[in-house]
Symmetry: C2
């Protein structure tokens, strides 16, 4: 078992885009990478064979908040960790639960000690602390563990953003200490990433980046963006943070975003992404394709017998037609959710794979500019 390693393989001359390779005890991850979100141990509406063979996912996410409540750490420990429990044998990253406590839980209360909340499932009371969230993620068996933070909303006043960032930094110290005081749970390396906060205040973001960088973690994350601020502001702060985080470590932009968001942020120096958009929007009939965006419920697709997307290497999307998928949505068939999720995730993984090829080929910037225009089109 060896700590996560990151090899920077290529840096683009005309942008900040990078191609790299992360090595974990569950295998390699070629960056830039998109990580499908498997909230409760399942990437919604697709199975693990599809994730590996069709979508070609290299790493998936789990949500600490959800997995802690259901099935709970006792069952996960008895299974030997989430990889054994759900049969996904490649790397897993877990968030810290902080974001979900504030977006899902009831009667949450923030204290210096941690966050008190009631389960959205049964109202039971729980406390997340920077320490026990490390224990939970160790029990889940994540290859990459995220620090416990407060993700400030947008907009957020300067005073609150500063106070919150300072709390996140104190929590980081506690979490780091606890994490390194405890052993890897299942014989493979678990690795902690700290999270930059600071809302949309440059001095706070720079201060947070420097604090986070000082921890010398094997990778660093940027949180608190894509929470409602204008897209340009998200890019501005992503660029700022990338400039103040070490270049030899992977940079993970949490919760971003649309296909064009991802291309722009790759261009700014981001290596890792996650977002529920491809699965959630897919379940609502919004398809991201290599030719643009499709609302598959629209009447115009009713007799379009062309493949869902023939521009990507996806057996399913090459096989089934837009007309059939529209029918499945209109008729409320479960298969609609699977086909749309498969399309969107396979497209996202295809997109970051293409980005990587163009970074290595040296024509990333021109390719990216063309793709952003193409992918934004409403078909």
């Amino acid at each position: 078992m060896a700590a996560l390693a990151f090899e920077l393989q290529h840096t683009d001359n005309n942008s900040k885009a990078r191609a790299g390779k992360m090595t974990t005890d569950h295998g390699e991850i070629l960056t830039p990478i998109f990580m499908p979100v498997g909230t409760a141990g399942s990437v919604k509406a697709v199975n693990q064979q599809q994730l590996e063979r069709d979508i070609k996912a290299q790493i998936i996410l789990g949500n600490t908040y959800h997995l802690y409540l259901r099935p709970g750490t006792n069952i996960l420990e008895e299974a030997g960790g989430l990889h054994k429990f759900n049969g996904w044998n490649r790397p897993i990253l877990t968030d810290s639960g902080g974001y979900q406590v504030f977006s899902l839980a009831e009667n949450r209360k923030l204290k210096e000690e941690g966050a008190l909340f009631q389960s959205h499932i049964d109202g039971s009371r729980h406390l997340f602390t920077p320490e026990n969230v490390m224990d939970i993620q160790r029990s889940i068996g994540a290859d990459i563990v995220m620090a416990f933070d407060e993700c400030t909303p947008y907009p957020c006043e300067y005073a609150y953003a500063k106070k919150s960032m300072e709390l996140t930094h104190r929590w980081l110290d506690r979490g780091f200490k606890h994490f390194y005081d405890t052993p890897d749970k299942y014989g493979y390396s678990q690795n902690l990433f700290p999270i930059v906060q600071g809302s949309i205040y440059k001095d706070l973001r720079v201060a947070s980046c420097e604090y986070i960088a000082s921890k010398g973690a094997v990778g660093n994350a940027i949180g608190g963006l894509s929470v409602g601020e204008p897209e340009e502001m998200m890019y501005e702060f992503t660029e700022l943070c990338c400039g103040h985080l070490p270049s030899e470590k992977p940079r993970y932009l949490m919760g971003v975003g649309t296909p064009w968001n991802i291309l722009e942020c790759i261009s700014l120096g981001i290596d890792m992404f996650d977002c529920v958009m491809p699965t959630r929007n897919g379940r609502n009939g919004m398809l991201f394709t290599s030719k643009g965006v499709i609302n598959i419920r629209n009447k115009k697709w009713a007799t379009d017998f062309t493949p869902i997307d023939d521009g990507i290497d996806c057996e399913t999307s090459n096989y089934y037609t837009k007309a059939y998928l529209r029918h499945l949505f209109v008729a409320n068939e479960i298969l609609a959710l699977e086909l749309a999720s498969l399309q969107n995730l396979t497209f996202y993984l295809w997109l970051v794979g293409e980005a990587r090829k163009h970074i290595i080929a040296g024509d990333f910037r021109a390719w990216k500019n063309g793709m952003v225009l193409r992918l934004k089109q409403r078909l």
Copy 2:
């Protein structure tokens, strides 16, 4: 294009069980066979690749009532039929819509001409007649088309059962005439099966069988059973009907049933089955396995890390554990519906395949008696 052919390959010495081969223009079907139900052009929660590769389905059903309302015959004709529309290239059988009109539609009214009803989707008014139901099934492109009938409920008074059976017979004459007055729609052979009715009255059932047999169809169906009558009565009438339907033609028992129902009815001379039970009960967490019945929501499975079913050749059921599947159900994950449907359908197809092997091997009866006991067990 050649009409459906049936070759009786083996008849069991110790029961009425038969092994046969049906040949259609979309391929062969080895009997006895179970046909997964794909109501609206999709076998719920599984895709067509899974149907072919994992479940090993040889023929699937479509429902005329549903497909007529959505997507409608115009779209299906423009696609070139249901096979082209949904990408299932093997045989398809469609029911006649009669059963759904009486179980799903609103304000239905039976007349000599046909059945008036309002759509359960939008309340629109429609008329199904023995003739237009042939047209609709031709447009869907079914390899096997079912006659329009009235399926009597249980219990049903003799007078009504007789009157209804006579109507079904008159409808059959009209349907047959219309069917043979119209050409195959898409260049491959479409074949009409008539349906025996007569509720639970022996004289009616015998009369109906004789009338149906007199049509000389390439296959014959038994309807109006498994509608609430005791299991023993269903077996009794299945045996009676099999005795009065030609042995050189396939016999299809509509809407049956549990795994043990299927084994018992194979033993009585049935060749073809369909039922929503494996998919519908699967979606409710009831698993049929090679070792017995499982309610996967039960707490007892929470830490059972053995495969869902290692007694059948199903990659998915061999791979995922009972504990994981239980978690998916408890957490309301969509993947639960897929894994349970895959298990139940693969098991049903495995079961009829095993029955066939044992019929050919000559030990069907002893094997069947043991399996019925085993499969009924609640685990």
